[in-house]
Every structure is written in C-alpha cells, then in structure tokens.
Amino acid sequence: MSSEREQPILRVHDIDVVYGEAIHVLRGVSLEVPTGAIVAMLGANGAGKTTLLRACSGLLGVQQGSVTSGMILLDGVRIERAKPASVVRRGLAQVMEGRRIFGELTVEENLRAGAFTRRDRSGIRSTYEHVLELFPVLGERRRSQAGYLSGGEQQMLAIARALMAAPRLLLLDEPSLGLAPMIVEKIRDIIAAINRTGTSVLLVEQNASMALSIAHHAYVLETGRVVREGPGPELLDDPEIRRLYLGASEGPRHSFTTLAPTSRVRPWMP
C-alpha cells in the first residue's frame, strides 16, 4: 500500500470547479507539490489559476464556487470542502492576487492579522522577527499605514502576512503583477529564500521566465485544463513555452489547445 516516495504536501486530484452552479471553470485538474519544492503554475489571464488556488485555500465559497468533483489533499487530508481558517491551521497560507493588504491598518497590524489562527505568543513573536529579517523594509515601516506603501512593499507585506501563519505550504498568486522588473527579481529571490527554509511553494504566474527560473516543476493551465507539465528548466527551454509565455515572437500566437486537438476544450454551453 504505502509507497516509498514521500507523500506530496499538496495533491490536487482530478478536480472540477464550478461557479454559481453554472460556470464550469476547472476540468479534471491534477497536480502535485512535492514537500519542499517550488511548483509553478503558468497560464494566461482567465485560465483558472486563481480559481485553482481558491479551491485549495477554501476561498471558493465566498465566490459562490465549489469543487464539484475530485479531491484536494493537504498532507493526505482532504481539504476541498474545508473552511479557510482550518486550511490555514493545517499549514497552508495564500498570498492573494493583487496583494490585498489591509490598507487602513498599519504594517504591524497586517502582520498580526496574518497570525490570527495562532495562539502561541512566543511562536508568533519569533515568526515576526524572522519575517522582519526577510523584509527589513517592513520593519522600518511597521507603524506606517499599509495603504501608503509602494506596490513592491505591499507585495512584500502580503507575503510577510501569509508567512505569519507559519505555513508549510505557501500559495502565491501572481506576485510579480504590476511590479517593475527589479522588484520582480527581488520578490523571486525572496520566494527562493522562503523555500530554502523548508516551506513548499505553489507559485502561480503569468511571468513565466520569473517563475520557471526558480521552479523545480511547472504546469501550464489553459482554459481550465492542465495542458503541459515538466521540470522547470525543461519548460524554460521549450520553444513552445517560449513562444506562448515568454514573449518570443516567432510566428503567430496560438495555444496548446489549437496545437493538440485531443485536448481541445469543449466550450461550455449555457
């Protein structure tokens, strides 16, 4: 029964996600995040990347969405119907798309909010110090209202806030969105540093070069299906990936679904 291979920290198995009982967004999506790894999920706007993360973190409910089939296992425990708070307590934290920091609160209060599910004061304290080491700029500005931070600082705060829950798996939704290239590099290095301390990472990105440069393994999502997967470096060298996601402009843009008719998505009929 039991395999020799270590159990992945996250296993998404053949899930379908539907919004409002009508909008079928994910179809048969499966993926794994091996413990300790950085896994990237690439895909264009509207592919369903955010939806996938919501399914893992329990945030589909507020969007009137649900996992209609398949399962999601965090350390072997099913979480596809779990509440966000219980998912966070189990060690999964999500950095939402668009940063979503609490603008009216101070930096310090944002971080406290990130530790809401924890009760061990000394543990929270040491995480707090660790986080400020990782992001010294947040320490300098800890009494500032978070809404006045720059975009890059807000992204750092969003990541730091998630780390305050002391997650073993960190989900990041397009952390490079809208940031200058230099800041993107910094964020990438920080993600790599977080991973080196033992936190597994599922990194959703449209910026494929950034994601693939640190990912051990990557998936490509297109209109709700996984159309490609492979080791990060392999995908980085793949001419098709380069054409589609790295802006190399050889020939007309087309998608995997048009290349591979077998995986073509049947359009949803109302």
């Binding site: 307590r89 939402m96 979503r100 609490f102 603008g103 009216e104 909010a113 809404g147 006045y148 720059s150």
Partner: protein
Amino acid sequence: MTKFLELCFAGVALGAQYALVALGYVVIYRATSVINFAQGGFVMIGAYLAYNFHQTWGLPFYLAVVLAMIGGAMVGALVEALILRRLVGRPAFVIIMVTIGILILIEQLVPVVWGQDPLALGDPWGVRSIKLGDIALAVADFWTLGIVAVVLIVFFLYFKYSRMGVAMRATASDQEAALAQGIGAGLVIGVSWAIAGAVAALAGVTLAGGGGGVRLDIELVALAALPAIILGGLDSPGGAVVGGLVIGLSQSLASGYQPEYAPWLGSGFDLALPYIIMVIVLLVRPYGLFGQREVRRV
C-alpha cells in the same frame, strides 16, 4: 452663563448616551455594511434587564449594570446567530428590513414580559443634583459620563490592540483577504453584534437612571442617534462618539434657548435639530465628518 454651562453639561451627558448607541450602529455597519435598526430594542432590553437584576433580584446596582451589558451582548449575539447568519449574502435592504422586523418583535415582546407601565430603576443617582457655584448638575449625568467614558476607552483599546480588534478592522478593510488569513467573517460579525448589544444596553440603563425610569419609549434614543453616525461617518467609531456629542449638545442647547429666542420654530424643534444638522453636514462632507474613503495605492 449659568444656564449655558448647565445645558452644555446635560448635553454632553445626553450625547454620551447617543455615542453609545451610535457606536453600536458603526460596529455592525463595519462588519456587515448594514444599519441595524433593532438597536433601539437592545436599548430597551438593557434597561429592563438592569431593572430585573437590581430591583427584582436585589443585586447591587453597579453589578446589575454590568450584568445588563452582558445580557445585551448575549441578546445581540443570539439575534445574529439565529436570524442574521441565515441571511448572509442577501441584498442589504433585505437585511435592513429584517432588523426592523426584529425591532418590532422586541417592541411587542417587552411589554408582554415587563408590562406597559414605567418602572423605577432604583439607581443610586435619583434626581439629585449638585451645585458647582451657581451651576446645578445632575448626579446621574456625572455617573453617565464617567461610566460611558470608561466603556468607550475600553472599547477603543480593545479595537486598537486586541487580537479580535485587529481582526475586526481587517475584516472591515477587506473581508475576503481577512478570510484568507483564517479570520472568519461569522466570528467578527457575531462579536460586533455582541458589542452593539452591550453598549446599547448601557445606553438604556443610563437613560432609565436619573429619574428617567424604565419605560417603553427609551428605544427612541436609537432614532435620535441615527444622525450621529451619518454625521460622524458610518464606518468611524471615533466619528460616532463625536457625532453623538454634537447631537446631544445641540439638542440640549436648542431645548434651552429656542423656546425663548425662536419660538416661531415651534415646539419639539430640538428633536428635529439632529436631522437638520445631519443634512447640512452631508451637503458639505458626503462621507460624514470622519468617514474614510479607501486608502489604497496600486
């Protein structure tokens, strides 16, 4: 001058009571974006509970006040858990109509339990007043101000520094992002209703004290406090307090001077005044005095 100072003092005491009720509105509004019209019902229940604890069961008055607040908190939390939790996601006006329904229910229920006639709260303040030079100040007003000040300070410390206070502000800022941190909206909303119930109950007790009596019509304070939150900004607890004080003060001064200097405005002008002030402030500042637009840089 004497009259002016007396009116000011009484006005601030009245305003403190408005501030309590207004704070209840604001706390619930921040958690749910809905104005809870049942607030007046909580005011009534608080006063009647204090009457029971003190007069019926003979507990010391100040203990009765604390117990009435706890009772108010429980009623608030219960109403939320039993009724409003089932309406999550419904349009705001539906929820507002339901809170009006709850108010009517409480209005019907209270006389059934406690009768129609005014009851004596039995507070140690009575109608006594003390003299500061020429100025006569009601003892009840002193105590009202003192108790309300303590409760407001505790509230603001809780709101600013406690784990739950931070969570409440985070939820008001971005409910979904708060949820992603594991801060359940249900918990925050429940705590908000409990706080609203507690402060409303205290408002009821202080209104019933000082010779006011435990009466069915003390719920009307909630209506008079409504302009206070519009004035202060629906989402600002500090604004609620300032708005409450402004309304109380202006009402008191109007009731003292208007019959003499502007009788042509008719009787009961002081009751309309809060709404007049509200309209004027809203013309100048659409978000109220302290209402915030989002501070968010992208």
